[in-house]
Amino acid sequence: MKIEDLREHLCGIYPDLCPLFSIEFGDGVLCVSHERLHQAASDLKDLGFDRLGMVTAVDYGEEFELVYRLQSRAMHAGIFLKARIKRETPVIASVCDLWPAANWQEREVFDLFGITFDGHPDLRRILLTDDWVGYPLRKDYEDDRIIRRPDYI
């Protein structure tokens, strides 16, 4: 399905989501507020996005951006769902109840970014050891074991 068709389809069913939809680098992006994230994800699932491809986060200094990549087999389309949360209160609703695939992925985001997912059944560190201090993928992560690479460029 073309991205424009997807936009029309989405706007036809959920007119309230329509103004949040944009197209970046050929991908449909839906930016919602973090309170609405779970509802929007649930709506998209009802629309036919049955696969959760990826959950990740990006550290933008003041805010974290949560990025969900959803995919629909029936429509042959993919869409991004994005939500921003404040750095001081890194809490967002879990989508584990919609897609079990989110279980490990959200654990990974918790492990590396320290973002807490409300309603996650088993939120523990997954990649690092349980006694690890800090969240390595945050931009301000400090670790005296890191040796910075000299600047060659």
Partner: protein, 389 residues
């Protein structure tokens, strides 16, 4: 390879604990720790298995023993310097990670890739699929006690590795697919050697299929073991042979076509029952289909340039984020890049198929015996470089 020899390496989980809190309950639960260094975990995976007798009541894979922080390292590298890092993600199929990353960079920077480079990418990646599946099928054999099949599949794998060695000089980590094309053109005589390989490979696969999957012992060990239903396969986000073994008709090469795949005629093998046997079978037939794709691509290969013209030495795409995915041997491998306009990446995230596929292990292993666990884990074919990144 005995399944009971566990190298318990952490003292805290190796104890046997009776958990019958109810006085009427007589079930004795045994906790067995497998790994992180165990011959049948295919890498450094630790699985804590709760057993009732010999039946698994619950199991939990503990991953991260190979977490090398590649995503963090990429944040201090230029776009070209990240390509060798992606080699080390999925070390059984390095070309895929190269390609997925390069596609994301090309999308971000708006690079058009010459047609010949696209064809070469398709050829090397289909060869890589064969090499990777040879590992997967072979280890299925090794897990079920048919070690001979591993020797047969590895002989085929060595042939592919030899082709790659001619191409880029390395046996495992190729660094071949680069943003804007591939690093160099095919050497003289390579096309003929590749044709010679694809000519003999389908018959070799038939032999392996007959030897391993036609074997009554392997069938008994694989059939009905680790059944993943179609609904679960979609809900848990599995992809690749795992999902297709469960009958999920989803292949990015056909359903979200990228590169020059729409020009090829190939079919997507599917399983019916979603058990370990079907997953192994899907891999066997995918290899044969890959040979078909390679032959068509070699036929359509035209002379031309293999690198996009006028690329700056230092890529600095405009700020934004891009995602692209390809169908790797393990499933849909995606790379998500964020650029802030500087020559360095702001963030790289690898959507690794093996990570998502491994998450279904507790679901599949429940109710099976401990000896079946290694078969199920082997049929998921995880590569821990990619699971842990």
């Amino acid at each position: 390879m005995t399944q009971t020899s566990t190298s318990d390496v952490t003292p805290d989980t190796a104890e046997t604990q009776p958990t019958g809190t109810e006085p009427t309950e007589t079930v004795m639960e045994t906790v067995v720790n497998i790994g992180p260094s165990h011959p049948s975990t295919h890498g450094v995976c630790r699985v804590v298995v709760h057993l009732d007798g010999e039946v698994i009541t619950h199991c939990e894979p503990i991953i991260g023993h190979l977490h090398r922080g590649i995503e963090k390292m990429a944040e201090n590298r230029t776009y070209l310097q990240v390509v060798p890092l992606t080699d080390r993600l999925d070390y059984v199929g390095s070309m895929y990670a190269n390609w997925a990353y390069c596609r994301a960079v090309e999308r971000l920077a708006g690079i058009r890739v010459p047609e010949r480079a696209e064809y070469i990418r398709v050829i090397v990646c289909e060869l890589q699929r064969i090499a990777s599946h040879m590992m997967g099928i072979g280890s299925t054999g090794a897990d079920t006690g048919a070690f001979t099949a591993f020797m047969y599949t590895f002989a085929q794998r060595e042939k592919v590795v030899e082709l790659f060695e001619l191409l880029c000089g390395a046996r495992l980590t190729y660094n071949y697919v680069r943003p804007g094309g591939v690093s160099r053109d095919l050497p003289d005589g390579w096309v003929e050697q590749c044709r010679a390989f694809t000519a003999q490979h389908p018959s070799a696969m038939l032999e392996i299929d007959d030897l391993l999957l036609g074997n009554v012992i392997a069938r008994a060990r694989l059939k009905g073991v680790g059944v993943l239903t179609q609904v679960d396969a979609v809900a848990w986000g599995t992809s690749g042979p795992i999902a297709r073994g469960s009958g999920v008709d989803w292949d990015l090469r056909r359903d979200d076509p990228y590169s020059v795949y729409p020009r090829f005629d190939f079919s997507v093998p599917l399983g019916d029952n979603g058990d370990s046997y079907d997953r192994a079978r899907v891999r066997v037939w995918e290899c044969v289909e890959s040979c078909r794709i390679i032959n068509q691509a070699l036929d359509q290969l035209e002379p031309g340039s293999v690198q996009a013209e006028g690329l700056p030495r230092l890529l600095a795409p405009r700020p934004g984020d891009a995602y692209d995915h390809i169908e790797s041997a393990r499933g849909s491998l995606g790379v998500y890049l964020v650029s802030d306009g500087s020559p360095r990446l702001y963030r790289m995230k690898v959507r690794s198929p093996a990570f998502c596929n491994l998450a279904v292990l507790p679901l599949l292993a429940k109710g099976h015996t401990l000896s079946d666990l290694v078969v199920i884990l082997g049929s998921l074919d995880p590569v821990f470089g990619e699971v842990d990144r």
